[in-house]
Amino acid sequence: MRLFLRDNGLSLFFGLIFLLALSGQAVAGHADFDNQQLAQGLQPISLGSYLTSAAFATDVMENWQSEFLQFFLYVFATVWLVQRGSPESKEIDKVGRESDEDQKVGPFAEDDSPRWARGGGLRTAIYSRSLGFAMATIFVLSWLAQSITGVTAYNEQQLSQLEAPISWLSYVTSADFWSRTCRTGSRSSWPWARWPF
């Protein structure tokens, strides 16, 4: 047990503060939601109902979106862009895609390399970009999830203010959706922008 804690301490620490932050977000968000409900003469809801509400899901998806956008940008930007002096950056003379020999793919793959690294052609091309594709896919899925939960949360607010609900298509071109998306963008890029400092 002690060995497990020592070997996985970093993951456990960040996992714990993630759970604490998510719990805090749930409690504070629930209180804020209920305040708005009461102000509009509507029914406050339980914490359990709030955790399964579109309002909570939208806020959680917005956070996840920013994380995967951040990693997607990091994976691709660090291929061609560098930051002198940063331990997170490549060395200046190694900018760009590295050779097959350096990456040990195709004819330079070793016996224990994954099959897709050895084969060459489309499979190796996909495998060579698989981390970026995975991050981009999860980002797009969370963006889609945010749009679906977001239109429900937005329309619930519309109805409470005696305004007409809108379609999903109208929502993804709305100020509310793009305001959240741009907030995600700025949240994703800020950690990397302060590297030089």
């Binding site: 509507l42 809801i45 579109a54 939208t58 005696l162 305004e163 609900p165």
Partner: protein, 130 residues
């Protein structure tokens, strides 16, 4: 494996938040039909029972009379249901001759606004609202 869990997590959030995606149309429609049905038969008390507390109180204050008399004097009517949209705990119920808004309370769905006319970029203009 971790990526599979992350994708499943997103799918899980979508599935769970689907609970807020307009599944309780029946409750909203029942409240609206009960409200307009009571008005059609001249039963103001029964119509008032379908209103939210806030809507009822506001009606009484603005009309200066008891709720049953005030609500029937508005001459609202809704016969043929056109469509209903439910998002989370709110709903819009559109009839051929009127539009009402409803919300989900602890004791069930209640009408929060009725006699509503749509305006282009503004909230609905309602004869009765909370």
């Amino acid at each position: 494996m971790r990526r599979v869990l992350q994708v499943l997590g997103i799918a899980g959030v979508l599935a769970v938040s689907g609970c807020g995606l307009g599944t309780d149309e029946g409750g909203a429609v029942t409240a609206a039909r009960g409200f307009y049905g009571a008005l059609d038969s001249g039963d103001g008390a029964k119509a008032c029972a379908q209103l939210s507390i806030e809507a009822r109180q506001k009606l009484v204050v603005s009309a200066g009379t008891a709720c049953a008399k005030a609500v029937t004097s508005l001459q609202l009517s809704g016969r043929t249901l056109r469509r209903v949209e439910v998002y989370g705990h709110g709903a819009r119920v559109v009839f051929d001759s009127d539009t009402a808004f409803a919300a989900d309370f602890a004791d069930g769905w209640r009408i929060t606004a009725a006699g509503c006319k749509e305006r282009a970029t503004l909230p609905y203009d309602c004869k009765l609202e909370s």
